[in-house]
Amino acid sequence: MIVRAALCPSPPLLAPGVTGQTVLLPDLRQACAAAVGWLVGAAPDTVAVIGPAAATATWPPESVPDLAMHAPAVYAGPSALPLALAIAGFLLDAAGYSGPRILQSVAESASPGACQQLGRDLAAAAPRVALLVMGDGSARRSAAAPGYLDDRAEPFDATVEQAIREGNLAALAALDPDLARDLLATGRSAWQALAGAAPTCPQTELLYSAAPFGVAYLVATLTPAP
């Protein structure tokens, strides 16, 4: 079962060195570090990472995070992991976590039902599973955003934020995959896996919620009902 869950975004800028000489978004980095530190502090049997990717797959747990596909002069490659799992790897390494890991990707196109089933399977992987959910909101939050402004983006992200804040993960399970895809909200499939793994979370804490470069980032900690 899931003992604790943490939610982090997975922009490349979170990886060491990628933004060059300027450290961008120190507050986001701090929130991620706090969330992951809290997560691994639960003394879990394993940390299970779930993050969106092109396809649903289980990745070798010893895979070294590397961002050569995004920053070829900074990293030597080869990039063994999809972006979301690589960022999770960096966060876990930075938190000093060296225990067992499950690295699971979930297809960005996976159906809500398939995502929730994947979440339930992860929850069953060990008696004490700490779940690290990697997911980003819409990349269409402003005119300067990668996907340009879409007026539907802010209400969509607000729905996600409210669901996390209230621990009402059924609202995540109900997110429309087509709308999420239109809004470049890649976190949808991973959030719905979370909804399957831990349907109700009476205790939640939102550590960060903003879209500083037009992409919505959300950091939160969640404690599921026993």
Partner: protein, 304 residues
Amino acid sequence: MDDVAAAGSGPRPTRTPGSLRLRGREFPPERTLVMAIVNRTPDSFYRPGLTWDEDAALERVHAIVAEGADLLDVGGVPAKPGPEVTVAEEIRRVVPFIERVRAAYPDLVISVDTWRHEPARAACEAGADLLNDTWSAWDPKVADVAAEFGVGLVCSHAGVALPRTRPHRAAFADVAADVLDRVLLLAERALQAGVAADRIVIDPAHDFGKNSWHSLEVTRRLDELTATGWPVLMSASRKDFVGETLGVGVDDRLAGTLATTAVGAWLGARIFRAHDVRQTREALDMVESIKGNRPLARAIRGLA
């Protein structure tokens, strides 16, 4: 000296690329350096008299240090022909100024642009760190001064030109090979004179004893110089070969200079003598990042 080995026929020392050591500081091979020009002359070719006044020259030093200069190159005699500048006059122009700069900047690397050993010696006594012997060892005692004071030495090529002369129908069977032979011969002589290997720099000396075709050929084949392992100084700033290539006067040679700088940096030159310090530093930073040697200032495009 175990990183120096004779190669090929005759004295052709190569060097394992390593740090250049000047004023107790180490400059590693992957780092490019800007050598800022400060002319203590009334009649140099670009902005003549700009730093003829000593206070103005010191103000200029403050400015170019702020712009990112790694070294200063102080010269008291223009390269072009003109009224004689005696040894005593050259010393008068250069040495008190070096003393003032040294007092203001204890760690700044100061080069002196001279071809005569008497001003070289006086400059070293005043705190200079590098002898930029642009006329290709016309006076062999300059190397002895470098050895005596433990300072650096630039080994340059000037063809058959004598100091302060313009080339007249200069001709080379293979100018790049001629440059290579000459600067390696001088590097070998410098070693024999007792100059430490990590204080020797080589310079093809664009325009010196060369026409513009020659200077472009040397630029095109700069990798043959950098392959020797000796740190290569490139001195192309606003020179005539840039002007003749583009058909522009000295005031309009910045773009041509920066293009030359970028090619030189790409081919591995390490020191760039420049009038335009900030622009040169930016061009070099750009090349270093293209090479993958320098982190970007701030990257966010496509990474959010």
